[in-house]
Symmetry: C2
Subunit: 190 residues, 2 copies
Amino acid sequence: MDTPAPRRRMRADARRNYERLLAEAATAFAEHGADFSLEEIARRAGVANGTLYGHFPTRRALLEALLGDRMRALAANGADLLDHPSPFDGLAVWARTAMSHAATYRGLGTAFMQAVQDETAELHTACQAVLSVAEDLVARGRAAGAVRQDVTAPDLYALINAAAWAGEQGSAPQGERLLAFGLDGFRTPS
Amino acid sequence: MDTPAPRRRMRADARRNYERLLAEAATAFAEHGADFSLEEIARRAGVANGTLYGHFPTRRALLEALLGDRMRALAANGADLLDHPSPFDGLAVWARTAMSHAATYRGLGTAFMQAVQDETAELHTACQAVLSVAEDLVARGRAAGAVRQDVTAPDLYALINAAAWAGEQGSAPQGERLLAFGLDGFRTPS
DNA sequence: ACCTGAACACCGTTCAAGT
DNA sequence: ACCTGAACACCGTTCAAGT
């Protein structure tokens, strides 16, 4: 149901290769991180080297195809949480979701941090959408006096990805702890 | 004055190669990060490939030679700060120093997180010393009621390295902001 | 005791040739 | 329109041969 669909009609064999590549990439990235060898992914998909590059000219394009939809869903989820009774809790709940999303593959935090800055990155639009909803959540928290006035959307974005990164290094709980402490640091002192 | 000295006596040519390799590695890592090609470093040092491996069997050994002394100095600096009039500020000052130290080369945060867990890592002892002083600083803060009871040394260690990581990605100030928010999250709510 | 440089296995990326 | 597989340039690591 959430097989990412290519943008346009494709020949049947092309479509099959496209989907095999995505499937192999998904399991390989999940197991070995987003830096896993593209050559090996092509091999596992039973496809020549150049075929992979034909469909995904860069590793980031492959990541976009794998994660783009989910990132847009994450942005939508954040927009929903603007209705949360507690501005602070709404932000915190979303941040935890975003972090576990960034922990899908090892190395994603780095990819997300770069993509949001690099306008040519395939993931740029999706990351911008996420940053934008972060902005809304932070603004609401500030307006309600629940979040410190000097907290910005890039702060939240960086915290989420840094916590995901820490989870990849040490242990997953370490990432969650870091996120929790950081979020508490965002709080207006009482 | 802080040229790291090899452990034992060496032949004159060996010593020269050793020092050239260290010097080239230092400038290359500073400019391009700690993942820079070892082959290219050997080339710049005017030395054959295998010579580098003779002196530094692994990239981590090279990092240890470059950073070990400074890491031990960092640990000593933390011990001094146990005398700081404010337990919280002492911890915070040290954390900022530690973070700027972890920002010496791009990629160091990752190396430090791995080294502290992997007992076979050349940097393990140095990282343990740093973790140990983090433990002392946190314990003092907790005892004084300035730091939350559930904060641990690994939390502080992870925060420092994650903030350094965030500074490598986005911008350096972003790393400092993250550290500041995280440290505030460590604070006992007033 | 130390250095050299070739050897091996691997990777990303491109591109002419095929169908 | 798409696929193939070779080609190129690069890297980490090891090791026999030299001095």
